[in-house]
């Protein structure tokens, strides 16, 4: 949490001014009991008369006005600093999350990331706001009142000093016990979020399997856990107010009793006892505020921890030294092995092959054979465990990820479009693409009719997640998106599966004619999609079991033959 305070740096001035003005306000507040004591001792008991009292009251109002001005300034600076703080924090979080690798996202969970960016940041924002406003003010009033009490009388001052010591112990004990508990509450809340999201996304399956009752039971368990943890921590937190109340009032009793003894021997006057009483009351009011502040700070700390988890996550991708190897090939895989976690089996083992510039490479293999993994290594989305991947003779981990990925046009397995116009979406590949460039990509992607069928053409709005497009339409638009970029390397990650055979075939023909002659990788389950490739890599359970063109493989690769036959024997016949 403390390290998050660096986000206040840009708002140093505001962050200093806010508590400063709060202190100013507090100082003037501390004069009030003294003025009242003088009204009683000098004005009423001392016989100074009404005019003196009126003057004193004018002083009280002036103190109030100065207090108001200071407070408003303080509020402004505090709000400014807090809002600025959370702005920078949110920006950094978003930047950080964008650098996460695939496995890191899976680990943290999308819904948890979203809650953190939302409610946790807001919680911290109000925490910072209150800290700036009250964290200085409350202790200042408390200690100021103590010092004033010392000025009035030393014994009375020490009574207040002891009280403050006891109160600090109580407040900190409660704080320390509740911080981890609040964190637990947040985690339980995450679980509830997860349940809800999951049930919305899986509604068809849940209903098809009549799992509604079961899901409700699961949910009730999770909500139960949440409620229990909330009540538990709430019970401890709510000790704060009554305890401070009791301690302070007991202190007042002692104070008045000590005062009585001092008055009896003539050391103090009646009005001064009232002043002591007032100081003690001020401490009470301030402490109740402080206790509430502590609860909020507590929550903020818990949230801060959750945010730090994100900010402290080290990018899991390694980068290497730039060394240019001499090679005649464009892309080399040299004895590459990969696994996703320490305990898992290798997803790819000892993969070696090379590709020349402009070649079309087909990658085929069974479910879980490592096709997508192989493709993801090209763009350095994962690190290899053994071996190396070279592009133009340079290890991909030595090329900056941004520069590296600039070379690629990727059509992902799952066709995803974003909210905005079709044009916005297609410009993802090239921000300054002209309509001509876009339309030519659309044409190659066989998506012309998608655009034509929309009343607004390229300006048609795409809803969140591309909801208003069918699977096949989305697929073709994502292909166009990759093509707009005119990439050096074009990757189809099993992305033609939603296209019918005819469209798929037309697409392949159009790709052949591309003027910029990209190197193309086609991952597919269909032999028909890859059989015309210059080179076909056959994967089986993470191993390369065959490399060659279609006819070579039919002759010498048993698995390829099997795949081919499985599709064409019964298929075309």
């Amino acid at each position: 949490m403390m390290s998050l305070f660096k986000y206040l740096k840009a708002y140093k001035l505001q962050a200093i001014l806010a508590p400063l003005f709060k202190l100013l306000e507090a100082v003037f507040e501390l004069f009030v009991p003294l003025v009242v004591a003088s009204i009683i001792d000098d004005g009423i008991n001392g016989g100074q008369g009404v005019s003196y009292v009126i003057w004193a009251c004018v002083v009280l109002i002036v103190l109030g006005i100065i207090g108001l001005i200071s407070a408003v300034s303080a509020q402004y600076f505090a709000a400014k600093a807090a809002v600025g703080f959370s702005k920078e924090l949110r920006r950094d979080l978003f930047n950080k999350i964008q650098t996460f690798s695939y496995s890191q996202i899976d680990e943290m969970g999308t819904s948890s990331l979203i809650t953190r960016m939302n409610s946790d940041v807001n919680q911290i924002q109000s925490g910072v706001n209150l800290i700036l406003r009250l964290l200085m003010r409350s202790p200042f009033i408390v200690f100021g009142a103590m010092i004033m009490a010392f000025v009035v009388n030393v014994t009375a001052g020490s009574v207040i000093a002891i009280t403050i010591a006891i109160l600090s112990v109580v407040v900190f004990t409660i704080m320390i016990t509740t911080i981890p508990l609040y964190k637990k509450v947040q985690n339980n809340l995450d679980n509830v979020t997860l349940s809800t999201r999951e049930n919305l996304n899986g509604v068809r399956v849940i209903r098809a399997f009549c799992q509604e009752e079961q899901e409700i039971k699961n949910y009730e368990n999770r909500v139960d856990n949440l409620t229990k943890s909330q009540k538990f921590v709430g019970g401890i937190s709510s000790l704060m107010n009554p305890l401070t109340y009791a301690i302070i009032n007991v202190a007042i009793i002692v104070l008045i009793y000590v005062g009585a003894i001092k008055v009896d021997v003539g050391v103090l006057k009646q009005g001064e006892v009232i002043a002591l009483y007032n100081y003690a009351s001020q401490i009470l009011v301030e402490l109740i505020k402080f206790a509430n502040l502590i609860i909020i700070i507590n929550k903020s700390f818990a949230c801060g921890g959750r945010l730090k988890e994100i900010l402290d996550t080290k990018p899991s991708l390694k980068s290497g030294d730039y060394v240019k190897n001499i090679t005649h090939d464009y892309i080399n895989f040299n004895d590459v092995s990969v696994k996703y976690s320490e305990t898992a089996d290798f997803a790819l083992s000892n993969v070696t092959f090379s590709v020349k510039k402009g070649e079309t490479v087909g990658i085929i293999g069974g479910t879980g054979s490592g096709k997508t993994t192989l493709i993801n290594l090209l763009g350095h989305f994962y690190d290899v465990n053994l071996g190396e991947v070279l592009i133009d003779g340079v290890n991909v981990n030595a090329i900056g990820d941004e520069i590296l990925r600039e070379k690629f046009g990727i059509v992902p397995q799952k066709a995803v479009l974003f909210k905005g116009t079709i044009r916005d979406n297609l410009k993802w590949g090239k921000a300054d693409a002209t309509d001509e460039e876009i339309m030519s990509a659309v044409k190659i992607a066989q998506a012309e009719d998608v655009i034509k069928n929309k009343t607004n053409g390229l300006d048609e709005m795409v809803e969140e997640g591309g909801k208003n497009f069918s699977g096949g339409q989305k697929q073709r638009l994502t292909i166009a998106r990759a093509l707009v970029k005119k990439p050096e390397i074009l990757i189809f990650d099993d992305s033609a599966s939603a296209l019918d055979y005819a469209t798929d075939a037309n697409l392949r023909i159009a790709l052949k004619d591309l003027s910029y002659n990209p190197t193309v990788f086609i991952v597919s389950q269909r032999t028909s999609s890859i059989m015309h490739a210059d080179k076909i890599i056959v994967l089986n359970e993470g191993h390369v079991v065959g490399i060659g063109n279609h006819s070579e493989l039919l002759n010498n690769c048993e698995i390829y033959k099997e795949i081919y036959n499985s599709q064409f024997e019964t298929g075309v016949a």
Partner: protein, 586 residues
């Protein structure tokens, strides 16, 4: 201040509280006691101060007696305060739990036509963050509204008793405080609303981009995202600065009013003490001290109440958003005396069925078709032709507009949904797994399945092998939406689910689209065995599957334009024939 709609929601919340009547009464009683306690204490302090008159003139006997009395009042007050807090916590969190569960149960019953058109993020945010805000507001309402109002009333009464003139001064000045608070509250409401709207925009953006981070990274679109994010962030920051600053003005303003009240009390108190004969009131310095202490605490509840009012308004708005979901009409209930479908033969008949999602966009019109027991029906057609719609109707995710669908001659509207659905085995293209172990996911349709049965099903679906390769085999935990599994692996698990239950009718929507053909071929054998004697509806791209079907339904633009078996349709030379030729021309 409150609009009629807000009052309606408020009433609703009160109704929700009914079950906690006893706790509420206890909470109010405890609030009464603790407020009374905290108000009495200053009076006794005042009385003690009156006993401390000057040197050698202190009434110690009475003081000691009063000290013990005060001490016990303080103890009781503190205990009551704590109990009240605990009870308030209990009420709030239980009510929130009730609301959450109610919302969740509702989600299980909402018609798909609702869920398909609403964004998931929105519903999640309603049932999670809105409920949370509602809880905060409710809790503040309980702890501070009651005691606040009671404190104000109590203080006024006691002031009147102590010195009605000073009390009158206070009463006259009070409206200023209220006026200021209200003025600020109305101004800030609009600001808060604006802030909330931008926050929604930001959440939607984050949801979309983080949810699809893989694509973002593949396209190196991070920088553009940052620009867009910063733009929204900037607007959000401005809006929240305004709303936070203006709402935080309440406190200093009311405190200033408080300072005036305080000065007025001091002045009028001092005057009555200096001219004791001016007014026929018995008054003392101790009394003045008590009144000043009251004046000090008097505006605090006003501050709190104005804070609570903002919170409550927010809470009511949030509650309103949740109730909107809860009040959505559910799927129509099962008919009274609805049939329970047990081991049906599996004869499915569409009888002049009309259906469309939106009334002005016609889709399925006068569709007639009869699937005999054990037949394989393939549904073919270009994307967006309405294949999924047929499944929606078969499973009763949507109800037909006109006509009827019968299973074994029974209109499915007269069969319980539960029994209808459990007699279908469904595998969708859009695979979905819940977070839980592999075993739990497979056993979804039959939670009582033994391990042997589960493994047998997995072997039949050819998923056993890769399951065993996972870290903990069948007990491996799968994270949100399948986590690290590949699309094909997810699909295999979904097929395993069906292999375990083997219901009499099957719906396979591109069930094997992401599985490699070799595995698929093996599964097909298992499928073929499974489909024997079971009426099956199959949506497929692969012609091998289609050709073996007993009946092929060719769909286009929502309608069935041709039906028959492969040979018949080829002979006919229509749409299907074209489709077939174009797909295998290469």
């Amino acid at each position: 201040m409150a609009k009629p709609s807000q009052i309606k929601i408020l009433k609703r919340i009160l109704k929700q509280l009914k079950g906690y009547r006893l706790l509420l009464v206890a909470s109010i009683l405890l609030a009464l006691i603790s407020v009374a306690g905290s108000l009495i204490v200053p009076i006794f302090f005042g009385q003690i101060i009156d006993l401390i008159i000057g040197k050698g003139n202190v009434g110690f006997d009475l003081i000691i007696y009063k000290v013990f009395f005060i001490a016990s009042v303080i103890a009781i007050t503190a205990i009551c305060q704590w109990l009240m807090n605990v009870i308030n916590n209990a009420i709030t969190y239980n009510v929130v739990k009730d609301v959450r569960e109610e919302a969740f149960k509702k989600i299980q019953k909402l018609p798909l036509s609702y869920l398909d058109t609403k964004s998931t993020g929105d519903i999640v945010s309603r049932s999670v963050s809105d409920v949370d805000q509602f809880a905060d507001g409710l809790l503040m309402g309980f702890t501070q509204l009651f005691s606040g109002v009671l404190t104000i009333i109590g203080t006024l009464v006691l002031m009147l008793v102590l010195n009605w003139i000073i009390a009158l001064v206070v009463v006259v000045l009070t409206p200023i405080s209220l006026f200021v608070a209200k003025f600020i509250a109305t101004k800030t409401h609009a600001l808060f609303k604006k802030t909330a709207k931008i926050r929604g925009e930001q959440t939607a953006f984050v949801d979309e981009m983080i949810g699809n981070l893989k694509v973002v990274q593949a396209f190196g679109h991070e920088d553009e995202n940052v620009d867009r994010f910063n733009e929204i962030n900037e607007r959000y920051t401005k809006a929240s600065l305004n709303s936070i600053f203006f709402s935080s003005l309440v406190n200093p303003s009311t405190r200033f009013v408080n300072a005036i009240v305080y000065a007025a009390v001091a002045l009028s108190g001092a005057i009555t003490l200096i001219y004791p004969n001016l007014l026929p009131i018995a008054f003392s310095v101790g009394g003045l001290s008590t009144l000043l202490s009251y004046a000090n605490q008097y505006t605090k509840p006003f501050n709190e109440i104005s804070g609570v009012v903002t919170e409550l308004q927010n809470a009511i708005a949030c509650a309103g958003r949740i109730y909107e979901i809860i009040d959505e009409p559910s799927e129509s209930c099962d008919r009274e005396n609805a049939l329970t479908l047990i081991n049906p033969e599996g004869e499915v008949e569409f009888n002049s069925v009309y259906f469309s999602y939106v009334s002005d966009k016609k889709l399925i019109e006068n569709f007639n078709f009869k699937a005999k027991k054990g037949q394989r029906i393939a549904i073919v057609g270009p994307t967006g032709c309405g294949k999924t719609t047929l499944i929606n109707l078969l499973m009763r995710f949507y109800d037909v507009n006109e006509g009827k669908i019968c299973v074994d001659g029974n209109n499915i509207n007269e069969i319980t949904r539960k029994s209808l659905r459990s007699n279908y085995g469904m595998v969708l293209q859009d695979t979905w797994l819940k977070s839980g172990t592999v075993k739990e996911n497979i056993a979804m349709g039959n939670p009582n399945a033994t391990d042997e049965e589960i493994i047998a099903a997995a072997k039949a679906a050819h998923s056993h092998k890769f399951i065993m390769q996972m870290a903990n085999g069948y007990d491996t935990f799968i994270s949100e939406d399948g986590g690290n599994l590949s699309q094909g692996q997810k699909q295999l698990l979904c097929i395993t689910r069906i292999m375990l239950t083997l219901p009499p009718m099957l719906i396979l929507d591109e069930a094997t689209s992401s599985i490699d053909t070799r595995t698929e071929q093996r599964i097909q054998r298992a499928f073929a065995k499974m489909m024997k004697g079971r009426t099956s509806f199959i949506v497929a791209h692969r012609l091998s599957t289609i050709k073996e079907a007993d009946v092929i339904l060719v769909m286009k633009d929502g309608n069935v334009i041709e039906q028959g078996n492969h040979d018949e349709l080829i002979k006919k030379g229509g749409f299907y024939c074209n489709l077939y030729n174009s797909q295998f021309a290469h």
